[in-house]
């Protein structure tokens, strides 16, 4: 929901980054206020995922210029874990499998670490078990996923639900969901989008990085940004996503070039 007076959560100015020596982001700008839902769309290779990962602090993404303030703090002076503790969340496009570590063990460690850093109470295993099962209902997840190794052998849809479960546990102020919709069938998409909607409050915000408009039918964005060549080339409301669905990206990219 757009509220011009809402707190600014994220302010990115002129961000440039390199990956393996190649410049990917070439002057990225974005402002996100509390309560807003943004969608970042764009063709393959336009820099959408790079943007999300660079903000979350992936070591392979070298920031070469520009600034990113998260609630006024310079993100690039914070290690990845600090950003997470401060309330920035990245839902991974390809969540990593961690064989040998029970999902419950991982979730509780992450939860307690973040709670501790925020000066809040940690939960013992029994308390956490009740708490996480409640959150799992939101995503219609089978509690059996607590005992399995983190993401190991999970289907694509199960991995994405596990990502949103982590978002539900860590209660970020700003969540980037990187292609959370890809590889989901329509039922899983509905469940995931419903879960995200439930987590939205006037105090937090979400940025959906996606190829497809269909997710936006369920989680309706206030802003739709189109990226190409490492920057945003157009910003509109949700009707822009519908236009992209119908016409593809070429007309926009060409209009930009002209």
């Amino acid at each position: 929901m757009i509220n011009a007076n809402a707190r600014t959560l994220l302010e990115v100015c002129d961000l440039t980054t390199k990956v393996a020596g190649v410049e990917i982001l070439k002057g990225m700008n974005l402002t996100v206020r509390a309560g807003e839902v943004h969608a970042i769309m764009g063709p393959n290779g336009s820099g959408k995922s790079t943007f999300a990962k660079a903000l979350a602090g992936h070591p392979a993404y070298e920031v070469t210029g520009g600034t990113a303030l998260f609630e006024g703090r310079n993100l690039f002076e914070m290690p990845a874990e600090e950003r997470a503790r401060a309330g920035l969340f990245l839902g991974f496009q390809y969540p990593v499998e961690v064989p040998g570590v029970a999902n419950s063990q991982f979730l509780r460690l992450a939860y307690n670490t973040v709670q501790g850093a925020r000066g809040k109470d940690e939960l013992d295993p029994l308390e956490f078990d009740d708490f996480v099962r409640e959150k799992m209902k939101l995503l219609e997840m089978d509690p059996a996923f607590l005992d399995r190794s983190v993401n190991e052998g999970f289907s694509g849809g199960e991995k994405k639900r596990n990502e949103i479960l982590q978002m539900a546990l860590l209660q970020p102020k700003l969540a980037f969901l990187d292609e959370t919709d890809s590889g989901l069938d329509i039922d899983a998409l509905r469940i995931v989008a419903h879960g995200v909607n439930k987590l939205l409050t006037p105090d937090n915000a979400v940025v959906l990085v996606t190829h497809y408009q269909r997710l936006l039918n369920y989680t309706v964005p206030d802003y739709v940004h189109v990226m190409d060549g490492g920057r945003i080339i157009k910003t509109g409301d949700r009707t822009l996503a519908l236009a992209l669905e119908e016409r593809g990206y070429d007309w926009l990219v060409e209009a930009q070039a002209a």
């Binding site: 070591p59 040998g100 570590v101 991982f106 992450a110």
Partner: protein, 434 residues
């Protein structure tokens, strides 16, 4: 052979005369043949291909004696006794400890001291003892056989199913002692067994455990075998497992090596019948200056066999892990399906792994895959955990724990898995640096 080596060998073979030969003449004859081989064989050195990376010269400088009779350490038993077992045999410094053991002779399952079994079941054992672990080509197996006087005997008759796991616990409490544990497991057609074979040390100083375990798995029988080696820090542990499977049999083992200054586990598995399934999981978790060597050999001698092997080493400090995994698919072993993976994690710059998957295929219609990887924690894995708020150290610790715990998680005995998870946790957690 140098004088030092001779003294070592003599000290071991002196043990031969110190232990009684047992009630049966054929055992004495077997021991005599093995003694002759033990005297004739050269002790392995790094010049032998099979021992290239495992230098035994420090062992050969030592002399060992047979164990003195020791009071059974009842308190120590609490540390290692798995509570959910159907039977337990405990050996203290190589001697059977009846007061700590619970034998089982019921419903087609027999778990008891080999000496007692020899008296009752001599002919049955005679046909099987030393039939699988060849002592003609290996000095340590020859010495073990020459010193054979007791051990563990586990026997499942046709279609018998054990009520719970069977624990064979070998405790070492005295330094400067050599013991030669012997295990014979016979699972007849259609039977089902889970055996926990565990070695633990409470002695300070050097001692030698030189074990031989033979497992005969009959047609369609299933044996799950958990082997845990947590010898004391000064120990030398050298052991052979020899497994033979008949048609449609299954053998699944999880071997964990945590202890000993130097350990070598040789595991030879023969698929002697069609349609056999073999799963081998291994973990060596070592640090300081430990050396852990695993040499496995899976012999696909018959068609339609399956084998899967995952061996992991987690190596810290200046420790050294060795893995040699040989898989042979013989001519005629068509439709064999074999997958082998050696994965290794080095925790320090001076840690060292030598790994050698070795695939030899002489059949033309088979599916075989193998691979080896040595590495450190991957950047993507670290980033994933850090993006959830974990510090770099906490993330690294969790990933290292998980790497090792994956193998521990395959142990089908809950108390053993839990105890080893704690051991893994203790050994994989480095302190926060900041």
């Amino acid at each position: 052979m140098s004088t030092a080596t001779t003294a070592f060998l003599e000290s071991l073979l002196a043990g031969h005369s110190a232990v009684p030969a047992g009630p049966l003449g054929w055992v004495s004859a077997l021991r005599a043949v093995a003694l002759e081989r033990g005297n004739a064989l050269t002790l392995p050195t790094t010049r032998d291909e099979d021992w290239r990376f495992t230098d035994l010269s420090a062992l050969y400088k030592l002399a060992f004696k047979p164990a003195a009779a020791a009071a059974p350490p009842a308190a120590a038993l609490d540390l290692f006794a798995a509570p959910e077992v159907a039977a337990r045999l405990v050996f203290v410094d190589g001697r059977y400890a009846p007061t700590l053991s619970s034998v089982l002779v019921a419903a087609g399952i027999s778990v008891r001291d080999l000496r007692a079994a020899l008296a009752a079941d001599g002919d049955f054992i005679r046909a099987r003892l030393a039939a699988l672990a060849d002592f003609r080509d290996d000095a340590f197996r020859a010495i073990n056989t020459a010193c054979l006087s007791g051990g563990a005997f586990v026997h499942a008759r046709r279609n018998a199913v054990a009520d719970g796991p069977i624990q064979l616990l070998f405790l070492s409490t005295q330094p400067e002692v050599a013991t030669h544990p012997r295990v014979l497991i016979v699972a007849e057609e259609g039977s089902d067994l889970t055996v926990l074979e565990e070695y633990a040390g409470l002695a300070d100083g050097a001692y030698l455990v030189n074990g031989v375990t033979e497992i005969a798995v009959g047609p369609a029988a299933r044996v799950r075998h958990v082997r845990v080696q947590r010898e004391a820090a000064g120990a030398f542990h050298i052991a052979t497992g020899a497994v033979r499977l008949e048609r449609d049999a299954t053998y699944a083992s999880v071997s964990v090596a945590l202890g000993a200054r130097l350990s070598r586990h040789t595991l030879n598995v023969v698929q002697a019948g069609e349609g056999v399934t073999v799963n081998l999981d291994g973990l060596a978790l070592i640090h300081e200056r430990q050396l852990a060597d695993t040499h496995s050999f899976i012999d696909h001698a018959r068609p339609h066999g399956t084998s899967r092997q995952l061996h992991k080493c987690v190596v810290g400090d200046q420790a050294h892990a060795v893995f040699n995994g040989r898989i042979l698919v013989r001519e005629g072993a068509q439709l064999t399906n074999s997958a082998q993976s050696s994965r290794n994690l080095l925790l320090s710059r001076r840690a060292h792994v030598d790994t050698k998957p070795q695939l030899e295929i002489f059949a033309d219609d088979v599916k075989c895959a193998h691979g080896a990887a040595i590495g450190q924690i991957e950047a993507d894995e670290l980033f994933y955990l850090r993006s959830r708020g974990l510090s770099e150290t906490a993330a690294r610790n969790l990933l290292t724990y998980g790497f090792a715990a994956e193998i521990v998680g395959r142990i089908p005995i809950a108390s053993v898995a839990a105890s080893l998870r704690r051991a893994v946790l203790e050994q994989t957690q480095s302190k926060e640096t900041a």
